[in-house]
């Protein structure tokens, strides 16, 4: 294969333009540092967004050969491997902004209890940072991207004075909130990156509730609209689309010297030479790139002398429960999709009596799809019988629909891991990733607790569960919250990155996405990814200015 070696050596190349990479590019360019940003896709055309197209109009558009935005990568284009009988649902978005185009927007601060979990229970290594280190960045991120929420402040969910007004709870959420209070468990306002007031020139949310289809007014944070244009305005960003990063290239000393990539459309190989490589392709793809970056200096993948890269994959364990609340039977139906997803959140509560159990870590609860305005007829298939009474009952129960989704932390296990299979390659000849992941006894005990909570809460709310099977766990990977495969830590023998997301073994490589997390916690990671990427690139910019890199 002929490779043309480009002469120019850029200050920094960033792989990936989602939350992590978008933040890195934005923060470096605004500090005057030239960045080449490689994204595996291109910009999604917002004019093709269908979130305001009435459902029945979609039909005709489809008939004309039109279609809505498709965010997720087709596995036929980029397969991945799993062991027999152990599936893992991996959702990838290749395109400007990555998964922030379609994320759930739940924006929860990690608490000190999260950063100190290993100190508390002794399971695996501790984070090398504390809440105090990240808190200033949470402040800045919330102010930048526009997060709505309440005035709550607790040991498991730190408060913030940078939150915008939260939308009021829907009726079902209000009833669940009261029911949980009777169980001495607080439910607070959800914290979501939906702008409830105009922010940085972006319009406030208009409460159509169709966020997952792409917001035409960009009223929720996504990297493609809220970070990349501002980085481009500096004149310091060279954004290269359809550049599928394959490997980090190294020099004779084992330091990074650039990135090898393939053009997604043509398959042509390209290289970008740079003094610093920032890896931010999302946890799983970053891990694949690092493991595929083998050389004489790094036979186990770049920066992986410790053999921790790829290990300790932490997703989150989740159950999905549906029900109806009798207090809402036959009430007037209303358009209450709001900001989409939940307007409330139940923070982790099992860290102290009387809620402690015999498992480590904890879970929080989300409530998406609760409300009277539902697409389809979710109630209909759970109402028995037939005839006019059946039809009446479907109508009667429709406003009473609630959904409850506890998300729990999965402990880091060394053999929950991502590897690369040299014998199976993609269309560019790059080895595929293999994901081997399962939950264990600790998570199963947690799921039991989830079941107890949900059953008690719905009972206290005067409701009934429908289509419920206790202990039924969502598919592995379904939370789309992968962490831990290139973790931070103080000990280079047990971690790949230092406290500033810099590789212990390769000082000019930074990994700033979810793979850097030491633990998963029960929280959605994007806010923390943004904060850590900002923090890491502040450090990086300082090192560049000092001439250390």
């Amino acid at each position: 294969m002929e490779v043309l070696e480009p002469a120019r050596v850029h200050p920094v190349v960033v792989i990936g333009s989602g939350a992590a990479g978008g933040m890195a590019a934005w923060n470096l360019t605004r500090q005057g540092i030239d960045v080449v940003l490689l994204d595996a896709g291109q910009k999604f055309d917002k004019s093709g967004s269908w979130e305001h197209v009435p459902a029945w109009e979609r039909y005709w558009r489809g008939k004309r050969g039109e279609g809505p935005l498709r965010f997720f990568l087709d596995t036929r284009e980029q397969p991945y491997l799993t062991p027999p009988g152990r599936p893992f649902d991996l959702a990838r978005v290749w395109g400007h902004g990555g998964k922030t185009n379609t994320w759930g927007r739940v924006s929860l601060r990690y608490a000190e209890i999260d950063f100190k979990s290993a100190e508390r229970d002794g399971w695996e290594i501790p984070w090398p940072i504390s809440y105090r280190d990240v808190a200033p960045y949470y402040d800045k991120v919330e102010a930048l991207i526009g997060v709505c929420g309440g005035d709550d402040d607790s040991e498991t969910l730190p408060g913030s004075r940078f939150l915008q007004e939260a939308p009021p709870p829907r009726c079902g959420e209000r009833l669940l909130q009261k029911a949980a209070a009777r169980l001495a468990i607080p439910i607070v306002a959800g914290r979501r990156a939906n702008m409830t007031r105009p922010t940085r020139g972006f319009a406030a949310c208009h409460y159509c509730g169709r966020c997952s289809e792409g917001c035409a007014t960009s009223s929720f944070f996504n990297s493609a609209d809220h970070l990349l244009p501002f980085a481009l305005e500096t004149g310091k960003l060279d954004l290269r689309s359809n550049a599928v990063a394959a490997r980090v290239l190294v020099d004779d000393r084992g330091l990074a010297r650039g990135v090898q990539y393939f053009d997604r459309k043509t398959g042509a190989e390209g290289q970008v030479m740079a003094k610093v490589v920032v890896v931010a392709a999302s946890a799983m793809d970053s891990t694949r790139i690092l493991l595929n970056s083998k050389s004489a200096a790094h036979p186990n993948g770049i920066g992986n002398g410790s053999d921790v890269i790829g290990r300790y994959l932490c997703e989150q364990v989740r159950i999905n429960v549906k029900g109806v609340l009798r207090g809402l039977f036959d009430t007037p139906r209303r358009h209450d999709k709001g900001i989409g997803g939940a307007h409330i959140y139940l923070p982790r509560f099992n860290h102290k009596a009387p809620h402690q159990r015999d498992y480590l870590r904890g879970f929080g609860v989300q409530f998406w799809n609760t409300g009277s305005y539902q697409d389809g007829a979710p109630v209909a298939s759970f109402v028995p019988g037939f005839g006019a009474s059946f039809k009446r009952e479907v109508r009667r129960r429709t406003p009473a629909w609630v959904e409850i989704h506890p998300f729990g932390e999965v402990l880091p296990y060394a053999d929950n891991r991502v590897t690369v299979d040299e014998s199976r390659t993609d269309r560019y000849g790059v080895p595929l990733m293999k994901v081997d992941y399962r939950i264990r006894e600790n998570e199963r005990k947690m799921v039991e607790h989830m079941g107890d909570l949900v059953e008690e809460m719905v009972k206290a709310a005067g409701g009934e569960l429908v289509d419920y099977r206790r202990g039924e766990i969502d598919k592995a990977g379904a939370a789309i919250h992968e962490h831990g495969t290139c973790r931070m830590g103080q000990d280079p023998k047990r971690s790949a990155l230092n406290a500033f997301n810099q590789m212990h073994e390769v000082k000019n490589v930074f990994v700033v996405d979810g793979s850097a997390f030491t633990t998963a916690s029960e929280k959605n990671p994007t806010l923390t990814i943004l904060a850590l990427s900002w923090r890491a690139t502040d450090y990086l910019a300082g090192e560049i200015r000092k001439g250390s890199l």
Binding site: P167, P168, R170, S372, A377, Y468
Partner: protein, 226 residues
Amino acid sequence: MAKSVELPVVASEGGPGRRRVLQGILTGLGTGIAIPGLAAEHPVHAHLADPAKAAAADAKVAGPGWKPEFLDAYQFETLSSMAERILPGATKLKADRFIDQLLAVDSAANQQAFLSALGGLDGEARARFGKPWKALSEPEQIEILTAASTMPLPARARNDQDNRPPRSGAAPAATGGSSLRGYFEHLKGWVVGSYYSTEEGMRELGFTGNQFFPSFPDCQHPDGHK
């Protein structure tokens, strides 16, 4: 309450549509999303998820001089009668026609499962009253559906430690296969899926189309759920 603003509905080529709601939802959400209210394994699920197939079926049922394509006249009359009894208004929204059109392009196995369910209930009519379903009086039809919808599930229809009632529209194997209950649930799945995928069916449940709000309105219920 903040005044809501309903977006003008873009005029559709064929006027306000039928059965486009669920299909539209699927189109919007992409792959891997189950149609709310339907068991993913039910054949109608796949039909509604396939725009070309649903479009072809829908266009046909709206056309003049429509005739069933898969079912014969006897079977179609039986289906129409059962559909109306299961979900009143189903024939007005042409759920029966839509089902026929979907069956016409379905797999042999799904076609057979449907015919088994239809024939099973019709056979029950003959066994009980010596007449085919469509010749039964309303009380006789109700008697059969009452029996079918309330009889216990066969043990093999249940998962281990799972006593959940079946979702309407679950595959025959999941609802007791050749049992009367299984036939009923299978047929009900087709009817429910077809009916509540229409705009009219959805609006019955409060579907409003797009609405925008300057701020999200708080609960308007008189007691505020005190």
